[in-house]
Symmetry: D2
Subunit: 475 residues, 4 copies
């Protein structure tokens, strides 16, 4: 819903056996994953054990100029990352991939997710003399791998032992001097898939990143699986598969992922279109046109229109030139930002009863502004439908749905929200039907809606204590 909730990261990795330019492949892959994080990005290239890394605050096309990309040079492997960081953390310091030296050589990691026992692990490490340069969970994971590595025969063994220690959400790509590894936590909170391009193997958060370089989708990494890729091919460590119930994030389908991605066998576009169909069944209304809030409400709007028989229309034009550096010189900023981003098409809504479909309603302020724009453009009725059930609980698994204070559904009744939004009717997708969006209806985390956490939340769910201590400039 126009940027209110953020996925924390996207990861991408390549192991090439056929001379593919791995830095360029990462560059394309990050472009396709940019929606998963716009704050910082980075690529680390492994050139026969020498790791060159370039990462910075900014979008892919800002950080990776032609010169910088060519400075990364050639190599047989690379790992890449896009990151969204919540305000108050340290964007440059926490940019990934994380590259470290240790007793056995060097290692680069890219991580999507969040641990629930990071604070405890961190404190134990510190009591043993560890120092931390970042405030990210990734550094905790890195330490645990390296410490296990001291007594393991291989890096994959060390990674497997790390999985015994950490709890929570993690889709990881790990690059050692000679191997590329993909790891998905036993719950499978975040997606991770495998692709093939010629004789190169790819790992990516979403299949759309495979498409961007012309690679073929092979399969998803299984929850709990470690995929080890080296010169001999691909193999798996399956020891952690099945030890936990699958609990992949349903909001990936509703909002985070790109509609052209297929995750764990279900097309994101189809899942969203189904959400719209269910909404039409759950919350029917007499109306003249169905419109979606661009871009993430469009697929569900089509589903609603098809199911209901009400014509689908293009209700808003989105200004595609609003970039990160957009400034708001006038007073009433919030208002203007919505208007400059989204302009209603009067010819479509004037004098009409409008069904307005959006992916979700978080705080409600943007939704209310959008509704007001529609009314100014002449809509006579506005019926709002949300593809997601009401948000009632924080997420501890890698998104920033983090405070009950800011969630409108925690503080107001349905009728109150309807009035706040200024709509004629309001309908949310039910928690029952949200489980039916995918082909395989089992194994989703819906904690943000229903509070059923697949694993225990952090003991101290506030921002960890380290976040308060260091703040690094952009310079």
């Amino acid at each position: 819903m126009t940027g209110s909730i953020h996925e924390e990261c996207g990861v991408f990795g390549v192991y090439s056996r056929d001379g593919l330019n791995v830095a360029s492949a990462c560059y394309y892959g990050l472009y396709a994953l940019q929606h998963r994080g716009q704050e910082s990005c980075g690529i680390a290239v492994n050139d026969d054990g020498l790791i060159r890394c370039m990462k910075d605050v900014g979008l892919v096309n800002e950080v990776f100029t032609k010169d910088r990309l060519s400075e990364l040079g050639h190599g047989s492997m690379a790992v890449a990352h896009v990151r969204y960081g919540t305000t108050g953390t340290y964007p440059r310091r926490n940019a990934q991939p994380l590259v470290v030296n240790h007793i056995k050589g060097t290692m680069a990691l890219a991580h999507n997710g969040a641990l629930t026992n990071a604070a405890e692990l961190r404190e134990a490490l510190e009591l043993n003399g560890a120092i931390f340069h970042t405030t990210s969970d990734t550094e905790v994971i890195t330490y645990e791998i390296i410490r296990q590595r001291l007594n393991s025969d291989s890096i994959e063994e060390a990674v497997s032992r790390m999985m015994d220690l950490v709890e929570g959400a993690y889709s990881l790509i790990i690059m050692s001097p000679t191997k590329l590894m993909g790891v998905r936590d036993p719950y499978g909170f975040r997606p991770l898939c495998i692709g093939q391009l010629g004789d190169s193997t790819i790992l990516a958060s979403e299949s759309c990143a495979l498409d961007s370089i012309g690679a073929t989708f092979v399969r998803d990494v299984k929850p709990g699986e470690i995929v080890i890729i080296d010169k001999d091919g691909i193999r798996s460590d399956e020891r952690h598969i099945g030890i936990r119930p699958k609990a992949s994030c349903v909001f990936e389908y509703i909002y985070f992922a790109r509609p052209d991605s297929v995750i764990d066998g279900t097309s994101v576009h189809i899942a969203r279109q189904r959400a719209g169909s269910f909404l039409a069944l759950e919350h029917p209304v007499q109306a003249d046109v169905v419109i979606g809030v661009p871009d993430s409400g469009l697929d569900a709007a089509i589903g609603y229109a098809r199911q209901s028989g009400i014509p689908y229309g293009i209700g808003f034009i989105k200004n595609k030139y609003i970039g990160r550096t957009f400034i708001q010189p006038l007073q009433s900023d919030r208002e203007d930002k919505v208007r400059i981003k989204l302009n209603p098409v009067s010819a479509v809504v004037k004098g009409k009863r409008v069904v307005l479909v959006d992916d979700s309603i978080v705080r409600g302020t943007t939704s209310a502004r959008i509704v007001r724009l529609l009314r100014e453009a002449g809509a006579v009725e506005v019926h709002m439908r949300s593809s997601a059930p009401p948000f009632m609980n924080p997420c501890y698994f890698g998104t920033d749905i983090d405070s009950r204070d800011k969630l409108i559904a925690c503080k107001h009744s349905l009728e109150e929200i309807r009035q706040i939004l200024g709509v004629d009717s309001l309908g949310y997708l039910s928690c029952e039907n949200v489980l039916r969006l995918c082909d395989n209806s089992a194994g989703f985390c819906t904690a943000c809606f229903d509070g059923n956490y697949p694993c225990p939340p952090p003991s101290n769910p506030g921002k960890n204590r380290f976040e308060r201590k260091i703040r690094e400039g952009e310079g």
Copy 2:
């Protein structure tokens, strides 16, 4: 069609009588007009006769940082411009607004269009000792106004006399020390409209720019009209109204303008949707889904779907992070650029007979690539429909449809084009129906389709001789 044809410019102006921040208003206005020109942009603010101008190569959000916008300061009037320039010209040198000193003070101009007798006028001026700093027609217009100003009682009289001399397309905003003027050539090639916000008067290429600052649409400037705005209000010089047949560019409706704009009484979105309906009537086909090429083919696709009864689908996801600085590190660049910008949604097209609607077909290379992507994604049939008739002739009125060599329809038969594009069937909107896209069917320039030029083309239609002589760096 994804960017093959370019509008040359967008213009915006404000006259404030109530303390509106005119620089900020221009900033928002330019954002809304960015689709009309992405090469350079500028704003000139008139602070009690002192004109401060900031212009540079780049998008609005690149050129106008917070600091730069505040350096423009306050004033009662401002004029602004976005520009697209064809390769080989001098982007920074030709950036607008053009600000000049002359015997009566200073003047700033913003121009959308192209003259057909610029070369002759320029030579005559040079024979009288004139020097030119730019290669743009705007400098010719400026000279003609200033020379007429020497013997005129007012700037508006000088502007009126200039209109007796120049031929071709021009929508102008002119700022003198005390007045803001909007001028539209007698044919009305390019749009220009008037808006109101509080006690401020706005001029803009398209009504979507009025919406962006919350202004109300008042009316379009009439072909041949000079609108004079000053502290006393708005008045018109109507001497050139009606002296030429109206010939506004029909391609504004099909491609250039934003769908949320209303031009000369017709909604651009509705015109495009009608194009789709006509296409369904002219070129029906048995199919499973209708998809549009984002973004400019979407409206027509909806029209086709509604008329035909075939379901509308979202066939492509467009990567919204591809910016001006996108680089293409891999070999097969053209190919990758289309794929990274547009990814088909397999779930929508796989195993389907697809109607693919685009706004137009220029060279055919991008269309062929898009068709190939659809087939790779599993489409079993692809039926292409173009909202524009075939391009057969160059445009001399402010767009870059300039060479028969590059227009696929000039070189190939319909059947040949169908084979080149690799589609199962191909249909263009007819020239007859293109005239029916607007509510008022009279008065369009369709020269690019049918060769009926409303005024004589330039005697030497090549790039003017000056273009060869100076080339200015970006620095």
Copy 3:
């Protein structure tokens, strides 16, 4: 004096008959002339009649990156410029070289100096319909050349006729499609010299720029001379030689020029050392050490030390990393800036009677601060000596000594100034001896000291009226 008075420009040009990289030669030449102007710089390359120009606000090493320099490409001729502009003018708009199109082709100009009849000429041109894009005198000169060109057989004839019309200071380099011309006004206010490198001919403001590219000094351009350089060699138009008394700026020797330059036969370093010797004779004092204010007071300090027999010492260390972008975050900025730029060497001045030699005293504020630093470092007496006589009059010939209000010597007696500066004694070089600094003592402009203007000052000596009207941003 550390930067209180500014030269307006430096010029450089190359005509190559042997494949010399003319853009690179200009780049080196501008580096050597950077002291003559730090606001903007530019290079225009003539590639067989096509002129490519790159100019921008900034130092040479900021504007000319490797990419930008290579974009200028190859050519047989080039002209280049560094500029200092007083506050309130329009740095980017007025950056040079000025490149224009006219009826006979294109022309590029670089200008050092200032006209005294620019306002009258400009008004006459405007009454004939001329428009001005800049506020510089250079555009007036350009117009006059182009207008004369209409009725002349050659560009050099047009330049010669222009010289009949304009009055004041101008050292010009003009580049036509096939010729490079050097012009020095009949008074010879500003320097201009000719050099040779292989089969290439060079024009430069100062001989140090010839040294920087390894070229040999050939001779100075004579006051009133037009030097025409083309494929056939060098020739002169001597019609304006001798029509005015020579009046070259004596302050070039005292401050503006680099000490390693030789102007009109006299080494700048030697002239400065002589100033120090004369000061020792005119204003002797009992002291322990002679120190100079870096950098422009050092040569005269050596002269004073040698003549007086008092040891020369290094009294200050200048911080060489203070760049254009130096900011002053603390409160008492002026104070801190001097201290951070110049730190006294205590070991040299502590307990000593110090003779402090500077090139000149303009407002006195910086001098007073420097004296205070010396006293804080332990100097027991400070005796100030100035290589220049007191400034009493504005300069209209290309420097910014422009207002009696700000000249300390216009407002205070010698004794008052001594007290203001806080020195034990104060001595200026006499106007008589300032004429003896050069080997050839005739023909200097000393108007800033004695009010003897070689040609009538402008009728309205304020900033011209156009300066008020346009202000251009840096963007």
Copy 4:
């Protein structure tokens, strides 16, 4: 000699009890220390336990814009650093201050020097599971402090224990949540001094940095001393004082430090002037003028001139606009760079027998080029004198005199060097007299000249193995 040898770092710290803007004080201090490192710089501000850090590749005026400086905000303490890094290391990764989280909170460190047992310590740490983000010795020092901190009652106790473990050169400034500490290794290789400004205490590599903010010099930190500064004042841990013989770097006086600094009681300027006097006594010659190579040869040239009675002259003008971004577009780059930086003043050297004084001779290539420039300018004899004895051995204590291969004196006899440089005579300061440059002649490290290393060199003196493994981009 003009940039061939590099100091690795400069450090600066402030503890304020009176509201001094500590970030601004650091900014000024870094400006004054810029000569000690031009590759990267950084400032960390402690705002009541929250540390904000800004560091980047670039000069102080490039990294610290007004915005960035103000983002650092206010605080009671700050630590700052300038760094020079040899090619092939990772400038951004290794930029300082280093800021880390550990079990007791946060810590920031700035370090000047180099350890001789870093590799051994690092390996031991890694065997215990440590990971390293940088390749610098500073991270080793940090780990050792933190590990000692686990069992120490205070941070100063932990620092003291760290000093029992590490060997080599280190002048450190350490900032804990409540204390600022200055540490100088027991040999006192690198300088570190204490200043006072109002009720604020300052630590700085050189006294010139105290001058830059108007602070008073208090005293040098003693070799082996830990100075602890907190709200209660200053106190010392003196346990490591006197446990090693003093061995401060004599080359600080000859080249690294600024002449206006006073180190361990001796003025750098006076030390250099003495070097010139000794050279005149050791290597007298009949000549007409004594000139120094700017800037570091000037002081010694004055000493030579005074002792010999031969007049001192300004032989070269140094171009002060050659910045870090200077590019060399022409072919013979090395040659041009010297010429564009240094231009001889012909009037001073033409026809003269010249004594040329430089601080040292490393490879000899630049010296040879300078001599050639003098001959081209007309010098009839050139007698070179070096303030430093011949370099014969690598330095392991924080400078980059690291390879015998590149030291001309290791490969050639005095007569051969004389011929290579193309001088008429050549004289180095003797190792005996180099010890007499300071007021207190005992306790210098002269290992680079005589091979007497104060502590054992590293067991494997090559670049450490980690340097090979990671390479980070500038982005």
